[in-house]
Symmetry: none
Subunit: 145 residues, 2 copies
DNA sequence: ACCACTTTCTTCCACTTCTTTCCACTAAGA
DNA sequence: TCTTAGTGGAAAGAAGTGGAAGAAAGTGGT
């Protein structure tokens, strides 16, 4: 389970420093390979290879549909297999770097099974624009929040 | 069950001293790990790790929804796993320290299953601005209040 | 078609900065 | 006075960063 925000940076070469905590977990649970992609072109999603393969398997079994084709189209357009080096850095494909403006300060968010990489300022602005309301929380119906 | 207000301080390094009473309860009921996060960026919420995991599980089972996505986006943006040291202090992430102005005197409030950490003066002002009304209390439908 | 040169990519080393942990002192309450 | 809570700070270790050297891929010319 990945959780929380680990602020980090993308250097001028386009390398993302995977925060040490996430790196440790990935090292022990998965290999150094990831599938980096995006569903909206606005922020990158980083799946440990094994997780992505699990999703692919589930999709392969699903009946053919427009939604499936669309999903494959988008995720494979932005997608690429990337590998962490010994220093815990990985090269973000140029296309994603441009579309998701991944340079300088970025937020790496744990989203349970995968990680989200977002431009910090943009993500912040998006949260401010669309805040979490009491009604949202009530809608979840979870006790003790 | 956490209850009451235990005023404490955040030092210049951003370390929150967990009041001894809360520390004792946490030590016996839970481990030293917490998930610290925020829903509005204005005050921090401190969940014993086990409590937070319970919420995560409940969320994982809930059907996909906008409210759920928003909730994960916000809580993981502000969130971080933190650990108390032997002296009962824990480091508040920079982002939260800034947004929620957690420095100097703060109030630690027991909110049943979790703790709230708020800038004392700000919290006071907010209560004054938005007081508890008879209508609020009636809406609870609890006998004997 | 092959060779050589150029350019880009990748990996690894070494330095710097920040974080974390732990020790010791101060203050307050019993 | 003794014990427990709270505070500050220094030292050791870990994390982050830049860059240089080696490898690989691409390009052009003979």
């Amino acid at each position: 389970m990945f959780r929380g925000n680990h602020p980090t940076r993308v250097d001028e070469k386009g390398r993302l420093k995977v925060p040490a905590e996430f790196k440790r977990r990935v090292d022990e649970l998965y290999g150094p390979q990831f599938f980096i992609t995006s569903k909206d072109g606005k922020r990158a999603e980083l799946y440990p290879m094994k997780e992505w393969e699990r999703i692919e398997d589930a999709l392969a079994k699903a009946p053919s549909s427009g939604a499936k084709k669309k999903f494959l189209d988008v995720t494979n357009y932005y997608g690429q297999v990337v590998e962490m080096d010994a220093q815990g850095r990985l090269l973000i494909p140029q296309l994603l770097r441009e579309d998701a403006t991944l340079a300088g300060d970025v937020a790496v968010l744990g989203m349970q099974t995968y990680l989200v990489v977002a431009n910090d300022a943009k993500h912040r602005a998006q949260l401010a624009e669309n805040p979490l309301t009491d009604a949202d929380i009530d809608a979840l119906g979870v006790v003790g929040i």
